[in-house]
Amino acid sequence: MLGLATGPVCIASCGPVVLPWMLVQPRGVRVHARQMTLFLGARLAGYLLFASLIWMAGAAIARTWGEQSWMVGAVQLLLACGLLIYAAGWPHAHCAVARSEPPGLVQIGAAPAEPPQTRPTGAVALGFLTGINLCPPFLVAGVRVAQLPSLANALAFFALFFLGTAVWFMPLLSLSVVRRTPSFLTVARMAAVLLACWYGFSGASLLIEKAIYG
């Protein structure tokens, strides 16, 4: 219930990463469904890792924002790098899109078109990083987990919390039907760069602030 209730805030928090990443994917429901599954799977892994850490460390890890700012800053810098890699890897994505488009003329007897190839590493990396990125619903769930009696309970709690939030990601699959033109992909790539700039700025600010003020 906590996951379902806080899902809108979750999707809003992860939106700056998920949206440009989805937009640079080739068109097609199957491609998007596969990528989304990988993303959510990696996100679940991040959730469970965080749940284990919180349960072991107790509420201490979530006691003060100052203690967490190192991690938040580092995760944001990694997210910035991830988005920049996606933006820079655009030519590959563009080739995949070109392959997925139907050819103008079909030669009888020719080999069938190669299906678009997308690498799973990006989805896994971004999913894991968003899984350990602190957002308000995540902190609420973390505080609850710290009070649970066993690790199994903590993991089960976070797994169900994940399921509740994951439901809110499903509407994003509708982006798979939007036609990918070169202009569309350029926009997605530019958006990824802009969002990477923000994550980079925010992460660096947090780390500098921590280094100066402790």
Binding site: P8, I11, A12, P16, L19, P20, A188, A191, L195, W198
Partner: protein, 392 residues
Amino acid sequence: MASAAIPHPKRRPPPFRTVGRSVLLTLPIALWALLMFTPTLRSPGLNHHIGAAAAVLFMTLLFFLMMRTGKTYRWRRYFFVTLGFLFPVGFIASLIHLRGSMSISLEHMLGGDTPFCHMVIPMILIPAALTRTVIFPGSILPTATNPHSVAVMIGLWLALTLVLGKAWCSYACFFGGIEEGFAALPKHIRIRKIDPRLRLVPWALLIAVAVLSAALFEPVYCMWLCPFKAVTEFPAVTGVKTAIQMGIFVALFVGLVVVLPFLTKKRTQCGFFCPFGAFQSLFNKINLFEIRFDRTKCADCTLCQTACPTMALSAESIREGKTLLNCMKCGACVDSCKKHAAVWHLKGTPVAVKPERARLLFLYGAWALATMLGGSIIANSLATILGFLPIR
């Protein structure tokens, strides 16, 4: 032989319409302008009377000239640049009257005293849909200290957008006139080669600010990227963060609104940066008015492409007889076309058949709304300036 050396005096082209017909066509706008400013003309205060009378005359005269000459862009530009340069005057004066400063403090933000601007609209949509929250520190309904509330501005924007589509950016936006003014200053273009991919930046920025605003629960564009904060209202500089914000505002204003328009003769902020402009482009799809090209007359001279202030034309789009989605319907291409191939068009009617009728229908709507919104800003700002003058 001697007579051949003497140049023939240039014949001025005949006016587009007779004075009588132009006056008749201007009458509805004149009456509308009078109706708009009657409350101001009745209220006490000589400065406001003069401001309102000047605005009525100004808007009516420009419309008359549009009718008389058949040119749209030239006369619209006078209005738009005047609006762009007068808006900050009236706005800053009202801020200083209310708060004593252009900067806004955290207390005023929390008190809902921040005037709502149309730029925020794309940023509030996702958070409003997901969490039913308006992520702007303003008031939903007008108050005594803040008449520019969220509801008023969204209502105005919606009404104007349904009538004008992206022409909002040429007839209603009170920011674009500043850069159009700077773009009009030089005689020659200094930077000609502009990467056409820059047209896509506003779309990327729209996606970025919309999702970031939802993630951070604050209007990111207003907090970090709005060039016009430099000449309107900005967060009070109280630390490193606000100093960086102010630095970004000033740098963007100088670069995108002053220097680049001067060098390129383009509206660089509107065409290559403004995310609201990209959002507004979507409404061109449902708007009735557009610019089309009569391919039977087009000489592919690219004069229209050079004239377009936001690069809303490409060789391919002209070949297809259309503009790109980001066309602001300013009329620059129509005015510049010597073959009369660029024409105003009402969707659902044949292209280049009675284009003047389409232009008239568009201009009546656009100018009536420009008079209502821009005219009132001009009138108030003139009254403010007159108030500063030591004349009684």
